[in-house]
């Protein structure tokens, strides 16, 4: 083992002769046994650290319970939060039903338009000329009242459940052979009122007036005018005959 180089940086006040003498005279060395003990301690210290490191590596790292489950808990919390957010957002299917009510129903036509019955456009025209009928028509959705068979409407008005009747009335545009767009383009959406009146046993607004007008014309001797008024009444309301007095019903049967 070499000694550390001494006297490499002498002070200005140093004595070169003294330094040389000191280096010659001061040459003691630590005993070899002391050197061996110190070096052995140094080796042992490193080996001890290596063994400790090996023990530490061999042992699985201990992780406390919260540390082990923290990632899973965080993932579950995020998933739960996302679910709640998705549930709280408005969805299309929540809005769709109310919107579908305004759309025309496209069920297959069940009732055919019979010959001799005024066309839909004529019926609409008649309705627009008659404020009471128009007021009745406001209850309807899309179908003109004339598209439904008079007799079947009168017959089914009392027997058919209200829901089925409404569905038939809603499906009227297709029944009459008109497209949904044409029905939607009609100035005043109309639906049959006779069945509704018969079902509710309440005369629709204006029906009594029309019946009174027919009666008055007939009483005044204007049979032709009464017949025309009755026909117009029938256009608006297929069950118009029911509003006439008993005395006029026989005559009304003769009016085509």
């Amino acid at each position: 083992m070499s000694n550390h180089e001494r006297g490499s940086s002498r002070s200005p006040d140093g004595d070169a002769a003294l330094d040389r003498a000191w280096q010659q005279l001061s040459d003691e060395q630590p005993p070899p046994s002391l050197d061996a003990a110190i070096i052995a301690a140094a080796h042992k210290s490193i080996q001890g650290r290596d063994e400790h490191a090996q023990v530490v590596r061999a042992r699985p790292p201990y992780r406390s319970w919260p540390t082990r489950w923290q990632p899973l808990a965080a993932a579950a919390a995020v998933a739960g939060l996302a679910f709640v957010l998705v549930q709280s957002l408005p969805r299309d299917r929540d809005v769709a039903p109310s919107m579908r009510k305004e759309e025309p129903v496209t069920t297959p036509a069940a009732v055919q338009e019979q010959p001799g019955i005024p066309s839909s456009s004529e019926a609409i025209k008649a309705k627009t000329e008659s404020p009471p009928a128009a007021a009745v028509a406001r209850e309807s959705v899309t179908a003109p009242s004339s598209t439904i068979d008079q007799k079947s409407a009168a017959d089914t008005a009392t027997a058919m459940p209200a829901t089925e009747l409404d569905q038939r009335q809603i499906a009227a545009p297709e029944m009459s052979g008109r497209s949904a767009s044409e029905a939607a383009a009609a100035p005043v959406p109309a639906r049959t009122t006779a069945a509704t009146a018969a079902r509710d046993n309440v005369a629709p607004p204006g029906a009594a007036d029309r019946a009174a007008r027919v009666t008055a014309l007939y009483a005044a001797g204007d049979v032709a005018g009464a017949a025309d008024a009755l026909r117009e009444f029938r256009v608006v309301d297929p069950g118009a005959d029911m509003y006439l007095p008993e005395s006029l019903r026989d005559w009304a049967r003769t009016v085509e």
């Binding site: 083992m1 070499s2 000694n3 550390h4 180089e5 001494r6 006297g7 490499s8 940086s9 002498r10 002070s11 006040d13 140093g14 004595d15 002769a17 003294l18 330094d19 003498a21 000191w22 280096q23 010659q24 005279l25 001061s26 040459d27 003691e28 060395q29 630590p30 005993p31 002391l34 050197d35 003990a37 110190i38 070096i39 301690a41 140094a42 080796h43 210290s45 490193i46 650290r49 290596d50």
Partner: protein
């Protein structure tokens, strides 16, 4: 030292080989030639170095750090043996007490085999060093054995450069006088 801290035992061997004699003599001179005390202090120092291998940080020269540890160990030794602090060894009363102690030690260890000129010179020189106050002797040993500069000695002894220079000057004067008497 960093290599040894990383587990290189050969690095320690090289380090120890470079500084072992100087640190041993540093303790031996402070212990007035008492080899058992020097052995004990020397071993304590290097065991402390071994224990500090993982905490060692490069903030100064290794030799400065090493002699800082050595000096702390020396101060602890003085406190435990003499019950006096290092600073108190600088006054004249303590110097006189130390000189008497060295003289007694010298008288009791007379050996005819060392009755040569070199041996006489050595004894005189070391005896003269024993009369130098502890702080001045410490500065001298740090300088000639540790190879530390004035600034490094000032740093590790927490003294100013002028103070260190003054201590060295005093130690050199004492030792030079001893050598002149021998001539």
């Amino acid at each position: 030292m960093r290599a040894y801290g990383d587990g290189d035992a050969r690095a320690f061997e090289a380090l120890y080989g470079r500084h072992r004699a100087a640190t041993y003599r540093y303790f031996l001179r402070h212990a007035d030639g008492h080899s058992a005390t020097a052995d004990e202090l020397h071993q304590d120092l290097w065991l402390k170095v071994i224990g500090a291998r993982e905490r060692y940080e490069t903030q100064a020269k290794f030799s400065t750090w090493l002699y800082t540890l050595a000096r702390h160990r020396m101060v602890d030794h003085w406190r435990s043996r003499h019950g006096i602090s290092l600073a108190s060894l600088e006054d004249e009363a303590t110097v006189t007490q130390a000189e008497e102690s060295v003289a007694a030690s010298r008288d009791g260890s007379e050996d005819p085999l060392h009755a040569t000129i070199d041996a006489q010179a050595r004894r005189r020189l070391f005896a003269a060093l024993g009369t130098v106050p502890a702080l001045q002797r410490d500065a001298f040993l740090l300088h000639v054995e540790g190879g530390l500069s004035l600034e490094e000695i000032a740093s590790l002894t927490a003294a100013s450069g002028e103070t260190v220079k003054s201590r060295l000057r005093y130690a050199y004067r004492r030792l030079r006088a001893a050598l002149e008497d021998m001539a």
